[in-house]
């Protein structure tokens, strides 16, 4: 059974990100002009403003640089509280907010290495693969 999740932001660009996820790939936008990576999805490069962007596959490796646990039910029961979130610094540089997979708050140490995983989820727009991170 896929996990029910709060709605994704969808539309041009966003749909492409999630389409790559459904193929098991984490791809972010790299600027063809300045070479900078941006996340979340953008229309124009956040570094130089260029609209010449390409989807580049990430290695899926990173480290946990911060984390927090939601005890307040902001999503009105969609996600059972408490639940953990992690701030992953990808090997390529960008920060990716995600969830831990197979570990929790008590297991986290600062800058511990993690690797990409996907979990089957569903929101009001349908099923999708959510990028999360497991211990490396």
């Amino acid at each position: 059974m896929p996990q029910t999740r709060p709605d994704r932001k969808l539309g041009p660009g966003h749909d492409e990100f999630w389409a790559w996820c459904s193929k098991g790939e984490l791809r972010l936008q790299r600027c063809k002009s300045c070479g900078g990576l941006s996340w979340p999805v953008i229309d124009a490069c956040e570094h130089c403003g260029s609209t010449e962007l390409e989807w580049e596959q990430m290695s899926g490796l990173g480290k946990v640089v911060s984390w927090c646990t939601f005890e307040h039910d902001y999503y009105r029961g969609v996600l059972p509280i408490p639940y953990d979130t992690i701030m992953v610094e990808l090997a390529e540089g960008p920060i990716f907010i995600s969830n831990p997979s197979g570990f929790g708050r008590e297991d986290i140490t600062f800058e511990m290495p993690v690797k990409l995983a996907f979990v089957d989820c569903v929101d009001s727009a349908g099923q999708f693969s959510l990028p999360v991170f497991a211990k490396a």
């Binding site: 999740r5 709060p6 709605d7 994704r8 932001k9 900078g36 941006s38 979340p40 999805v41 956040e46 570094h47 640089v65 911060s66 984390w67 927090c68 646990t69 939601f70 005890e71 307040h72 902001y74 999503y75 009105r76 969609v78 996600l79 408490p82 639940y83 979130t85 701030m87 610094e89 960008p94 920060i95 907010i97 995600s98 969830n99 708050r105 600062f110 989820c121 929101d123 999708f128 959510l130 999360v132």
Partner: protein
């Protein structure tokens, strides 16, 4: 939500320093209104942003001693909707010749806008009104209803990550790891601000807070406790700003706008916010402000920082350079941030314990302090106060100086 960008803040210019001064202050009854909103006695009617705005304006006008016809500018800031400037002018019986299109909903942006307009001759005396019925309209600060503002406010819903609180929570976890701080260390900030609020009869929170009570309080986004996060309450603030040369001989000492700065984060936002704690933006905007005013950071005698969270207030103090990175909590624990300390901070209780007026109540507190009318929480002989607004991707400090009466 009217979200302010740095483009709303005019360029800092030494020629504009001390050319405009706050001469009138009006606030609504934050404490009493909060009590009433909680108790909802028979016949209780929730305030509207308009009713609050009228009350704050009338009080500011009376406080200034000015006549209604002296007001030739009007800026209204209804963060969550309300009447237009034109409608409000009619309601208040004003005929302004200048109404800024949008000075930004959150303070401090509207003050530089007003000071610049006055210097350009667009008006001589402007009433700036900020009003929100945040509690009464049931405004929430996380979850799927967050769908505007910076992308970090809404993009991470599928991972269950949203809310302003979550930004501060990541900062606090990271800070603990980098500097070896403990959860109870942050309590010192909440406890100090509550003590300040208890010397402010209009502060929403009046009961004592202890470290034990702090640690026993529920987590909202762990590691942040309830008392690490700002209040949600209704209210309005009105500031009347006047050309400095017209501000002499009035009821109170004028509070002159000495300088301002602005810097924003345009890329790598979460890295800049959490890993670097916007140090570059604090330093750059602070430098602009001090250059405009022609003074040094050491001349600041009283500091008000936008305390959306306890840890965010630490970001301000360390970012602007009042203390070294990693020393901010000790600054509170040792009493240096207390009234009577080396740099009194958020003397009216801030938005953590005072009133959630999005920066306007911080400036109101500066007005009282620089007038030397802050009663039991007065910072002795204060002449220079600094306010620093910072959100998750921008910093706007404003410097204020006590002018000759």
């Amino acid at each position: 939500m009217s979200y302010m960008t740095h483009f709303d803040v005019p360029t800092p210019d030494p020629a504009l320093s001390r050319k405009a001064a706050i001469v009138g202050l009006g606030e609504t009854d934050f404490h009493l209104d909060y009590q009433a909103a909680r108790a909802k006695p028979d016949g209780y009617e929730a305030p509207t942003s308009e009713s609050l705005a009228i009350k704050a304006f009338e009080r500011a006008l009376a406080d200034s001693g000015l006549r209604r016809e002296d007001i030739d500018g009007l800026g209204v800031n209804f963060l969550y909707g309300g009447p237009s400037s034109e409608e409000m002018a009619k309601t208040l019986g004003l005929t302004p010749r200048y109404t800024p299109e949008r000075g930004g909903g959150i303070c401090a942006g509207p003050l530089p806008v007003a000071a610049t307009a006055i210097a350009e001759g667009k008006c001589d005396t402007i009433a700036l009104i900020f009003s929100v019925a945040t509690r009464s309209i049931g405004r929430t600060f996380g979850g799927n209803k967050m769908d505007d503002g910076p992308s970090s406010y809404y993009y991470h819903h599928p991972w269950g990550w949203s809310s302003q609180a979550a930004h501060w929570a990541l900062i606090w976890t990271h800070y603990q790891q980098v500097y070896g701080a403990k959860e109870e260390d942050l309590a010192a900030v909440a406890v100090q601000l509550r003590q300040n609020a208890m010397r402010n009869p209009n502060a929403v929170m009046q009961s004592e807070l202890t470290v034990e009570k702090y640690l026993a309080s529920r987590y909202v986004v762990r590691p942040l406790h309830l008392f690490d996060l700002c209040l949600v309450n209704d209210g309005a603030v009105c500031l009347i700003v006047r050309r400095t040369d017209l501000a002499k001989g009035m009821a109170h000492a004028p509070v002159e706008i000495g300088g301002w700065g602005r810097a924003s984060v345009t890329r790598n936002k979460m890295h800049t916010l959490v890993r670097e704690r916007m140090r570059t933006q604090y330093q750059e905007s602070g430098r602009q402000m001090l250059e405009m005013a022609g003074i040094g950071l050491g001349d600041v005698q009283h500091f008000e920082g936008y305390d959306a969270s306890t840890i965010h207030l630490i970001d301000h103090l360390e970012g602007h350079g009042f203390v070294e990175p990693g020393q901010g909590l000790e600054f509170f624990k040792s009493g240096k941030a207390a009234i009577g300390g080396t740099l009194p901070v958020n003397t009216g209780g801030g938005i953590l314990s005072g009133s959630y007026m999005h920066g306007w109540s911080h400036v109101a507190e500066i007005v009282r302090q620089l007038r030397h009318e802050a009663g039991p929480r007065q910072v002795k002989d204060v002449e220079v106060s600094m306010f620093s607004l910072a959100q998750t991707d921008q910093v706007h400090p404003v410097l204020f100086m006590r002018g000759a009466k």
